[in-house]
């Protein structure tokens, strides 16, 4: 009720005040000195407050990268937690400047909900988490199961499609946040928890005994996850887009938080690195920033590989492999447009 009330209030406020869609978000953010970034309510590895209350995670680092590029300091971010249901309203009403929340790019979100997606930063797909003790080895054996799903997601739509297409039935158990999902799943209210495979890895790591649960081999959908901004401010969309591209390119070019200072101190022999460093050309001015925009982002959060390793890679509780998310040069499909 509170949440829908909030949506109602925001909607009405939005309608009455009217959205100044064309106002320069960049100016607003710089005047405010803080970036409002819409994230999850808590999904360990992607976005969650750590024990000191500092937000931390894969999505969080992309927020920080944008803040570093735009404000010079990756700490100047206010995180706006959102459920699957509230995220787009928070962005469209102006409470958030940018969104990084395990969000799948779809045509309706882009064209109908009026979002502009930034480049994909995680290629994912929907999977199923189940207790090993159930003795199930394939999603095709799930007929009749109770399935926990988060509302307001692509997940619930894929799920309906999948069971229908395979002539199976199921009982949907609707939940609002990942936390509720964990409570219902561990209380055995549902046999299966379904969401993006990356989210499942995070959820499994948070369970009492992760080894008692398994993720079924079937991936039933494409979930290209990426950041988003609202329609109407192309410059702001470009900033988001190129910060993400810079983070991905940096890994490809071998620029990391450790060597960026040295590599970018002066123009070197590699023009691609020079353009990223701002020591050649003036890419920064094309998006309304100075020449060191990308350097600051890389310095403060690292390149794509570093972000991945730090939060969700093989040495974290989530233990995700790079898989599709390896650079195109390493057999993955991560392929950032060139900065030039």
């Amino acid at each position: 009720m509170l949440k829908s009330l909030k949506i109602a209030v925001i909607t009405i406020a939005l309608s009455i005040i009217g959205l100044s869609a064309n106002a320069a978000t960049l100016d607003d953010v710089q005047a405010r000195g803080e970036l409002n970034c819409v994230v999850t309510t808590g999904l360990a590895g992607f976005a969650a407050p750590d024990e000191n209350g500092r937000w931390d995670g894969f999505d969080v680092d992309f927020c920080r990268a944008v803040a570093a590029a735009v404000l010079g300091d990756g700490e100047k971010v206010k995180f706006v937690p959102s459920t699957g249901k509230t995220r787009f309203t928070l962005l469209n009403s102006g409470e958030g400047d940018i969104l990084f929340r395990n969000t799948t790019e779809t045509m309706s979100r882009d064209a109908d909900l009026k979002l502009t997606f930034l480049p994909i930063n995680y290629y994912d797909g929907q999977g199923f988490l189940i207790r090993k003790a159930m003795g199930i080895s394939s999603a095709s054996e799930l007929n009749g199961a109770s399935v926990c799903i988060q509302t307001g997601t692509t997940t619930e739509l894929n799920l309906a499609d999948y069971f229908r297409a395979n002539g199976m039935s199921y009982e949907p158990v609707n939940i609002e946040t990942n936390e509720e999902g964990i409570a219902n799943y561990s209380g055995n209210r549902c046999d299966v928890y379904t969401t993006d495979a990356s989210g499942l890895a995070s959820t499994r790591a948070a369970l009492d005994d992760p080894s008692a649960h398994t993720i079924l081999p079937e991936i039933i959908s494409k979930e290209p996850l990426g950041g988003a901004v609202r329609h109407g401010d192309d410059q702001w969309a470009d900033i988001g887009k190129w910060v993400v591209n810079a983070i991905i390119s940096a890994e490809e070019l071998g620029v990391s938080s450790a060597n960026v200072g040295e590599l970018c101190a002066a123009a070197g022999d590699n023009p691609s690195i020079n353009r990223l460093c701002g020591t050649e050309g003036d890419a920064g001015s094309w998006i309304g920033l100075d020449s060191k925009w990308a350097v600051r982002a890389i310095e403060q959060v690292g390149n794509y590989g570093e972000i991945f390793e730090r939060h969700i890679g093989p040495n974290t509780p989530l233990a995700l492999e790079r898989g599709l998310n390896a650079q195109w040069t390493d057999g993955g499909i991560l392929y950032a447009a060139p900065i030039r």
Binding site: S15, T151, G152, Y170
Partner: protein, 397 residues
């Protein structure tokens, strides 16, 4: 009586209307209503224009698109190919279901609590008091979450279900019980039941008339029970029990077949009605205490026994005090049912105001629907209660 001011004939029509107390109040009302409507029209117009400015037109066309999501509790046929409109109907029915069941349960428990609160037995009295104080002072959302958590965590999984006579099973996924399948002959039983109801309606008035005229008293209640329940029951067995049962059976993950009452419904129903019952209990207590004790004494003095004093003298008068505040408790219960989303009970807010809203991005349109639906349901409850209130008002003779 309105006092019409004598108007000098030379004044023009407008000032004449304005000087007349009755027409003046009509004028003021018309102006007020027009202003309110103009304001609302302005806001709505503004909203539509602004939505259009960011490229989101105002349109209800999405209602006829497939909803693409599933709902676990649907009282009417529904699947993911049904429209958003149908999803909304499912939500409305789920809200109505929990509201009606909740109101009935809350009233029963509430009346009981009210009477217990007046008990001379210290322990009973204190227990009722403690219950009311505890329940009233904890937000209803917490009750809902608590009951839901208890059901999910305390009840066994389907494979270890608590079986009641091997036909009903209690699990943390709900209570599974046999579903009746009616055979054609069952219609006879239903017809008899309706006939019996009609007969009783007539008989009650007849008995009242006889009592008014001759003072002879019929045990209407017992005769009624016999006719309405007894007669159809006897015929039910004479016709060879024209009902078969679809008994739930454990198949794979869950029980299949039969009927199921889901934990989300149980949690919401229990939390809402036990919460509201605490308030109703206090209202009932106040109502009974509000009837002047002399009435009871007078009734005793006439030799009327305790039970009949209560039912003929105290309760009818207490009801007049109870019903108006009771109405607002019923309204509260209905509105609080929108907290259902917290545990995923698929009511109006969770369907059209939740998933549909979110998947289509039609915030404005969906919120308007949700607000209108709650308004309409509130008005219906108020209407029924006002009718009942007039019905039990003192008839002055």
């Amino acid at each position: 009586m309105s006092e019409t001011v004598a108007v000098p004939p030379q004044r023009n029509a407008i000032s004449r209307l304005w000087n007349d107390k009755e027409s003046r109040s009509v004028i003021i009302q018309v102006i007020t209503i027009s202003l309110v409507f103009a304001f609302m029209a302005y806001i709505i117009h503004n909203a539509v224009v602004n939505l259009q400015a960011i490229g989101k037109g105002f349109s209800y066309n999405f209602l006829w698109q497939p909803s693409s999501y599933d709902i676990n509790q649907h009282l009417i046929e529904y699947d993911s190919r049904s429209t958003h409109f149908r999803a909304m109907l499912v939500g409305i029915l789920n809200t109505i279901l929990v509201a009606i069941c909740g109101i009935v349960l809350a009233s029963i428990v509430g009346f009981l609590l009210g009477v217990l609160r007046l008990s001379k037995n210290w322990i009973i009295n204190r227990l009722a008091y403690c219950y009311i104080e505890y329940v009233r002072n904890v937000p209803v959302l917490l009750h809902i979450l608590l009951v839901h958590g208890l059901i999910v965590h305390a009840f066994p999984v389907p494979r270890q279900a608590i079986s009641i006579g091997d036909v009903t099973f209690m699990t943390n996924r709900g209570i599974f019980s046999p579903k009746p399948i009616y055979e054609p002959l069952f219609l006879v039983v239903i017809a008899l039941f309706l006939l019996a109801l009609a007969f009783m309606w007539w008989f009650r008035r007849y008995a009242q008339k006889v009592q008014d005229e001759t003072g002879q008293h019929y045990p209407v209640f017992w005769i009624g029970l016999g006719t309405v329940i007894g007669v159809p029951l006897v015929f039910f067995f004479l016709l060879g029990s024209p009902i078969t049962w679809d008994v739930p059976e454990l198949k794979g993950f869950n029980f299949a077949g039969g009927m199921v009452v889901r934990p989300e419904f149980i949690a919401l129903l229990l939390a809402l009605s036990l919460y509201t019952a605490a308030f109703i209990g206090e209202i009932v207590r106040a109502g009974i205490l509000g009837v002047y004790y002399g009435q009871t004494e007078a009734s005793y003095a006439l030799g009327i026994n305790r039970g009949r004093t209560l039912s003929l003298v105290v309760i009818p008068q207490a009801l007049r005090i109870i019903v108006p505040p009771l109405t607002s408790q019923y309204l509260n219960l209905m509105k609080n049912s929108s907290l259902a989303v917290a545990i995923g009970y698929m009511d109006i807010v969770a369907t059209i105001g939740g998933i549909s809203l979110n998947q289509t991005g039609r915030e404005m349109e969906c919120m308007i629907i949700v607000l209108t639906l709650y308004l309409v349901m509130s008005l219906i409850i108020s209407m029924i209660m006002n009718w009942y209130n007039r019905h039990i008002k003192l008839v002055e003779r």
